[in-house]
C-alpha cells in the first residue's frame, strides 16, 4: 500500500525584545547563571507579572506577516505543571483565545506555490534550564531564560514531505527575521520546531496516528527527522503494526529518534485564565498601525527584484530568503552598485565565503560591495583582484580601498613600467612570438598571461593588450 505523509509543525520562537515578557530583566543570551533574573521571573511570593507590550507588538506583527486574523480580545492562561525549571509551577501561555489565528504562508515547491495554513500563533514564556552537576551531586537550575518571551506558531497539517516541512520552516524563519520579530539564531535555540507526523493510506481523508518530535533547531534536522520518522512509521504499518501516539526525541548525531519517557507526556495542564494579567485588548487602529509599520516582506522584494531589476528568479529567491542578505543587496544598490552585478557577487563569491565560514552574517555592509564594484568600474582593480579583495574584506572587515592600497593591488597603468615588462616578456618568449607571427592568435593570450604574472595580476589589461600588439608588430618588422 502507498502511504501519504501528513506533517504539521509547531515552531517556538524567541521574540527580539530587550527585556523579558513579565519583568525588566535582560533577554541577552548567555551570562553568568542566575544573573539575568529578579524576584518576578524567579516567582517569589507576592510578585506579579506585567506584560511587556513589545512582546504583544511582535506577536501581532508575526501574525500580520503570516496573514493571520488578529484577535481584538485575547487573554493569557496558566498552564500548570511541576518542574524545577518552571519556578511558578505554571507557564503563562495562551489557551483558547490566542492572539493570532487562521493565517498562511506560501512556499515554493519546484517552482510551484504551495499554501501552508497557520492554525494559530500564541504568546508564552520560556522556562529556565536544569544544569546537572558534573560531580553527580544533583541538579541545579539556571533561571536566566525564565520569562524570555516566545511565540508558538502552529501550522495546519498541510505539508506532505520532509522537503515541504524544511521549506516551510525556512520561510517562517525568513518572515520572522524580515519583520524584526526574532533574530532566529538557530545555534542559540531561539527558533525550534516540533514536527508532528502521521501516515495514511494514499487517498484517505482520515488522519493517521501522529507522533511528535520535539525541539529540532535546524532545517536539516527537521528534514532528517521527518524522513526518518516516515521510514519508521511506514515500516510499522507495512508489517501490519500500529503506530503509537507518542512524543519522540530526535538525536541528530545518531540520525534516529527515541521515545521520550512517559512521564513527560500525558499531562493534565489544568489551564485557566491568568488572573494576574488583564486581557489583551487591541484596537483596530493599533493593529492597523502595526500593519503599516511592517517592512517590505520577502515576496514583495522578490517581485521587485525580478520585475524591476531584471534579477533571475532563482537568484532573487536566494537573495530574499534571508533578510540579512536581502538588506545587504538593497544597500549595495542604494550606494550605486548595478543590481545585476551586485546580485552576481552575492550569488557567487559572497555565498561561497559565507558557506565556508558557516555563517549567515556578512561582516560588512552593502555599501562596501558598491565601493568594490566602483573600483572595478573605474578600472582601478581587475575582476580577479576584486575576488581577492572581497575575501580580505570578509576576513578582516576592511574597506575595499583600504585593502587595495594596503596590499598594493591597484592596477598598474604606468606606461614605462608596463613597457619594460612587455619588452621583457617578448624577449623571453621567442617561441610564442614566433607562433603568433605564424598566425596563431592564441599565443597572444599566453603572452598576456605572462605579463599579468609578472605584475601579480595588477597590470591594466587594456593597456597591456595594446602595448603587446604594438611590441609584436615592431618585432615582425625586419
Amino acid at each position: 500500500m502507498d502511504y501519504e505523509v501528513v506533517i504539521g509543525l509547531e515552531i517556538h520562537v524567541e521574540l527580539a525584545t530587550k527585556s523579558k515578557i513579565f519583568c525588566g530583566c535582560t533577554t541577552e543570551f548567555g551570562g553568568e547563571v542566575n544573573t539575568h533574573c529578579c524576584p518576578v521571573c524567579t516567582s517569589m511570593p507576592g510578585t506579579l507579572p506585567v506584560m511587556n507590550e513589545k512582546a504583544v507588538e511582535f506577536a501581532v506583527k508575526a501574525g500580520l506577516a503570516m496573514n493571520c486574523e488578529i484577535a481584538e480580545f485575547s487573554k493569557m492562561d496558566r498552564k500548570n505543571y511541576f518542574y524545577p525549571d518552571l519556578p511558578k509551577a505554571y507557564q503563562i501561555s495562551q489557551f483558547d483565545l490566542p492572539i493570532c489565528k487562521g493565517g498562511y504562508v506560501d512556499i515554493d515547491i519546484n517552482g510551484k506555490m504551495k499554501r501552508i495554513g497557520i492554525t494559530r500563533i500564541h504568546i508564552e514564556e520560556d522556562a529556565g534550564k536544569l544544569i546537572h552537576d558534573p560531580h553527580g551531586k544533583g541538579s541545579l537550575v539556571d533561571y536566566n531564560r525564565c520569562g524570555v518571551p516566545l511565540i508558538e506558531i502552529v501550522s495546519e497539517p498541510d505539508m506532505s514531505s520532509p522537503e515541504e516541512a524544511r521549506k516551510y520552516f525556512e520561510k517562517v524563519r525568513s518572515i520572522l527575521q524580515y519583520t524584526g520579530v526574532s533574530d532566529c539564531r538557530m545555534q542559540e535555540g531561539s527558533i525550534r520546531a516540533d514536527v508532528n507526523l502521521s501516515l495514511r493510506p494514499a487517498g484517505s481523508t482520515k488522519l493517521g496516528t501522529r507522533t511528535e518530535m520535539k525541539n529540532l533547531n535546524s532545517f536539516r534536522s527537521v528534514f532528517n527527522a521527518a524522513e526518518s520518522e516516515i521510514k519508521r512509521q511506514s515500516g510499522i504499518l507495512r508489517q501490519g503494526g500500529r503506530v503509537g501516539q507518542e512524543t519522540r526525541r530526535w538525536d541528530d548525531d545518531a540520525g534516529k529518534s527515541f521515545p521520550m519517557r512517559n512521564k513527560e507526556e500525558a499531562h493534565d495542564y489544568r489551564y485557566f485564565p491568568e488572573p494576574d494579567l488583564v486581557p489583551i485588548i487591541l484596537t483596530k487602529e493599533r493593529i492597523d498601525a502595526y500593519r503599516e509599520s511592517l517592512p517590505e516582506l520577502p515576496w514583495k522584494r522578490f517581485a521587485r527584484y525580478t520585475e524591476e531589476m531584471g534579477i533571475p528568479g532563482y537568484d532573487a529567491g536566494i537573495i530574499t530568503a534571508s533578510v540579512k542578505t536581502s538588506d545587504f543587496f538593497e544597500e549595495a544598490v542604494k550606494y550605486g552598485a548595478d543590481a545585476k552585478t551586485a546580485a552576481n557577487w552575492i550569488m557567487g563569491d559572497l555565498m561561497r565565503l559565507m558557506n565556508d565560514a558557516g555563517t549567515e552574517d556578512i561582516p560588512f555592509g552593502g555599501k562596501m560591495l558598491a565601493e568594490l564594484a566602483d573600483l572595478i568600474g573605474q578600472g582601478r582593480i581587475s575582476n580577479n583582484i576584486a575576488k581577492t579583495v572581497l575575501s580580505e574584506m570578509f576576513a578582516t572587515g576592511g574597506t575595499p580601498s583600504f585593502i587595495v592600497k594596503e596590499k598594493g593591488l591597484e592596477v598598474v597603468s604606468d606606461r614605462d613600467e608596463l613597457a619594460r615588462i612587455v619588452d621583457k616578456v617578448i624577449s623571453h618568449n621567442k617561441k610564442s612570438v614566433e607562433d603568433y607571427m605564424g598566425g596563431k592568435e592564441k599565443a597572444m593570450g599566453f603572452l598576456m598571461g605572462q605579463v599579468m604574472r609578472e605584475t601579480g595580476g595588477k597590470a591594466n589589461p587594456t593597456m597591456v593588450k595594446a602595448m603587446l600588439a604594438d611590441g609584436l608588430k615592431k618585432a615582425m618588422e625586419p
Partner: protein
Amino acid sequence: MEIARLTIKDISRMLRNREASAVEITNGFYERIESTDAKIGAYISLCREKALEDAANAQKKADAGEGGLLNGVPAAVKDNMCTEGMATTCASRMLENFIPPYTATAVEKIKAEGAVLLGKLNLDEFAMGSSTGNSYFGQTKNPWDERRVPGGSSGGSAAAVASGQAVFALGSDTGGSIRQPAAFCGVVGLKPTYGTVSRHGLVAFASSLDQIGPLTKTVEDSAIVLNAISGRDQRDSTSMETGIPDYTEGIDGGARGLMIGVPSQYLSDGVSPGVRKQIGEAIKAYEKMGAVCEETSIELADYAIAAYYIISSAEASSNLARYDGIKYGYRSSGYANLTDLYNKTRSEGFGSEAKRRIMLGTYVLSSGYYDAYYKKALRVRRLIKNEFDALFKKYDLILGPTAPTTAFRIGEKEGNPLEMYMGDVFTVSVNIAGLPAISIPCGLDENNLPVGMQLIGKAFGERTILRAAKAFEMEFPFLISEEGGRHGL
C-alpha cells in the same frame, strides 16, 4: 495617654501639639503589646528597633511641620504582605524563614506616609480560613472573649486593633477576610473595590479576589488609610487609577436621601437572633437619619458560596504550586528523587486547610471536571455581578450583617469545614463581584459580643459607603474602649 483608644487623627493632633513624641507613642504601643499579646497572640513578629528609628524620623518630620497622612502612627500589617528584610511567613511552615527582598506596595505606601511599622500579624495559613486557627504559629484570640476566635483570616489584624496593639492594621480580603474579623472584634474593616489597592507584594491566595484594605477604630481612619494605600501601581496590572483623590471628602455628609436595599436573604433564619436584632436597630437608625431602607432580594446569594470556593480554590491551587521546595521556603530533608521532594515538602510544609483547598482547586480544574465546576462557577460569577449591577441601579447601598453569627468558640467549627465556609455567606459575593464593602460595629449581641454590619457599595463607591458608615457611627456610637474595658483597654 490612653494608648488603646488612639486614632490616626488623635496621633496627628498629639504630634502637632507636642503632647507626646512619636518615639514615646511607639514605645507606648510596644508596652501595650508586651502586656496584652501574650493573651491575644495577634503578632507573629515585631520589629521594635526599626520602628523606633522610624518613629524618630517621623518626629523630625513633625518638628519640621512636614510628614504624611500617617506620620508617626504605629501600625501593623498582616503577615502575608512582603516586608523587605523581615520574615513574611503567611503563617505557614512553608514560609517560616522566608525573607523577601522587596516590600509590598501597600506597606511601602503607609511607610511613605510616615506610619511606623510595629510588626507582622497572625492570619490563617495563606489567608485561608475564618478563625485564625489555621496558623502555624498558633490561634489568635478574640480580645472580647479569649475563648473565642477573632475571625479570619485577618484575625491578627482585627485583634491587634481591637485590643489597642496598633492604631490601624492592613489586612487582606479574599472572601471576607477583613470584614468578618472586623465584625467579630468590633472594629471597622474596609474591603475596597478590586483594583483600588495594588496587590504587588501581597502573597497571593486567589488573585482575582484578593484585595488589601484597612482595619481601623473609626470610619474616618479607614478613609485616611485608604487615601494612603490606593492608586495605580505599575507592578500590578490589575490595579487601577480610581480617580478618587480623597476618600474623606464628603464623609460627614450624613445618610439623608440614601437608598438602602436590605436583601431578605441576609436576614433569614440562618442568621442568629442577636445579629438580626442589631441589624434591625441599624435599619431603624438609618431611617431616622433620613435614609430609605427597603427590603429587596439577592436571588443568587445561595450560589455565591459554591462559586467562591471553586474559583478561590482553583486559583489557590495554582498560586501555591510554587512552594515546591526548590527555590525558597521549606524543603523536606531526606527525599529520594524529585517527586519525593515535592511530595514530602508539600505534605510537611502546608497545613490541612491549605491542602484541602489545593486538592479542591486541582480537582475543579482537572479535565473532565472543568466544565462542571470551574467554568460553571465563572458563569455564576458573571450572573452575580449582573444581579448587583441591577440592584445598584436602584440602591446606593446594600445593607446586612457581615456574618450570620458573632465570634464562635475556638475549636467549635474544627472538623466541619463546610459549616465554617457557610459563615462567609454574606461576604464572598462582594469579592466575586469585585465590589467595595465595609464592616462597622453595630452593637453587641446577648453574649456581649460585637455584631458587624456590612454596607456594600457599587464599584468605586467607597465614598458613599464611608459617608453612610460615618453617619451610623455618629448615631450609634460604639467605642471599643468602653466595652473593652475589662480587657484593660
